[in-house]
């Protein structure tokens, strides 16, 4: 039986980007030498699983470049698309890129959860700070 929460997660832009990356990785791995498709041996301190393989790193980079290209294209649609939609699209794409770098390159996918919690607290506090500053100072001005 499918969990409705899982379904909701799978439809998110982050999940879609990850699924696309994983499919591309599987296709690339079939054609490359073993050293490119196996993670580095051993675990570094605080890690629960091995790091991604070089092919996975390159695939994530390709996805990041594609998203950046779409971001730039969207920014040029000013006047064609409503500003609100452009802002939402750009923020979602920036979030996906942020997530991909943090999860794959900063190894939050494979590290102990405590590191993830530290980073989430910091990022959430930064967003909260922005909201407080914006609402307070905009109200005063």
């Amino acid at each position: 039986m499918t969990d409705p929460n899982d379904e909701a997660t799978n439809e998110s832009p982050v999940a879609t980007a990850e699924q696309a990356a994983e499919r591309a990785i599987e296709r690339a791995e079939e054609r490359l030498p073993e050293e490119m498709t196996t993670p580095a041996p051993g675990l570094l301190p605080g890690e629960l699983r091995p790091h991604p393989t070089p092919v996975q790193y390159v695939t994530v980079a390709v996805v990041l470049v594609v998203i950046t290209a779409i971001e730039i294209a969207v920014s040029y649609t000013e006047g064609t698309l409503p500003d609100g939609l452009i802002v939402v699209l750009l923020i979602v794409m920036a979030f996906v890129k942020f997530f991909l770098v943090a999860a794959w390159y900063m190894h939050l996918r494979t590290d102990a959860p405590v590191f993830r919690r530290f980073f989430i607290v910091g990022a959430a506090a930064a967003i909260l700070l922005y909201l407080i500053v914006l609402t307070t100072l905009h109200a005063l001005s």
Partner: protein
């Protein structure tokens, strides 16, 4: 005479070895102190940049500002190229880490040098951009937009510069034979800092340059 009761608490818990030959990093939690410290620093740095991004967003559109507006000075194609270069430096950084973990020191040196060069190219682009903006009449004291823009992007540039120095020192240590697979944790921590600088730029690029005014 008082009798002191000896309570046996059993042997002290054994510290978990990190398995990388760095005994001074052993902890009872299994989480190494340098990595924990780096994540704590990055968490606090989120707030640091959050404050300056908030300030920029608040000040950029204030009416009646002297000097050029963001639309007058921003060169999106140019900044897109420098953003692309910084993104690619994150790729070379993880490839450097993978190389040193495998004991491939020559590849490690190539990738770490490539990362530093990409970073230096990004900084070169930022210096060019600042020079252009100054030529067009936008200085640190021209307007609220100018002040908040130069402080935010300048502080990010300072972070990138510190990262380049760190990467070059790793490259120098490896040339002296003082960094090998046993010290890959040091490379990972430098990588965490470098990727953080990259994710901050992802936010700055979107919020400062791309979102319509």
């Amino acid at each position: 005479m008082a009798i002191t009761e000896q309570v046996d608490h059993g042997p002290p818990p054994m510290p978990i070895s990190n398995g990388h030959g760095n005994g001074d990093h052993d902890t009872h939690t299994g989480i190494v102190n340098p990595k924990l410290a780096m994540w704590l620093f990055l968490s606090s740095d989120c707030l640091f940049f959050g404050a300056f991004i908030s300030t920029f967003l608040l000040y950029r559109d204030r009416p009646g500002q002297a000097g050029p507006s963001p639309a007058d000075v921003f060169d999106i194609p140019f900044t897109s190229v420098t953003s692309f270069i910084l993104l690619m430096s994150s790729l070379t950084m993880v490839l450097a880490l993978a190389a040193i973990q495998r004991g491939e020191l020559r590849r490690f040196r190539i990738w770490i040098m490539a990362t530093a060069l990409f970073g230096a190219t990004f900084i070169g682009g930022q210096i060019f951009e600042f020079t252009e903006f100054t030529r067009q009449g936008l200085n640190l004291d021209t307007s609220l937009f100018g002040s908040s823009f130069f402080v935010l992007t300048g502080l990010h540039g300072a972070h990138v510069t510190a990262g380049i120095i760190w990467l070059m020192s790793l490259w120098g240590l490896s040339m002296q034979g003082r960094i090998g697979p046993g010290q890959s944790e040091a490379v990972e921590i430098a990588g965490l800092y470098w990727h953080f600088v990259d994710v901050v730029w992802i936010v700055i690029f979107t919020v400062v340059y791309l979102i319509p005014k």
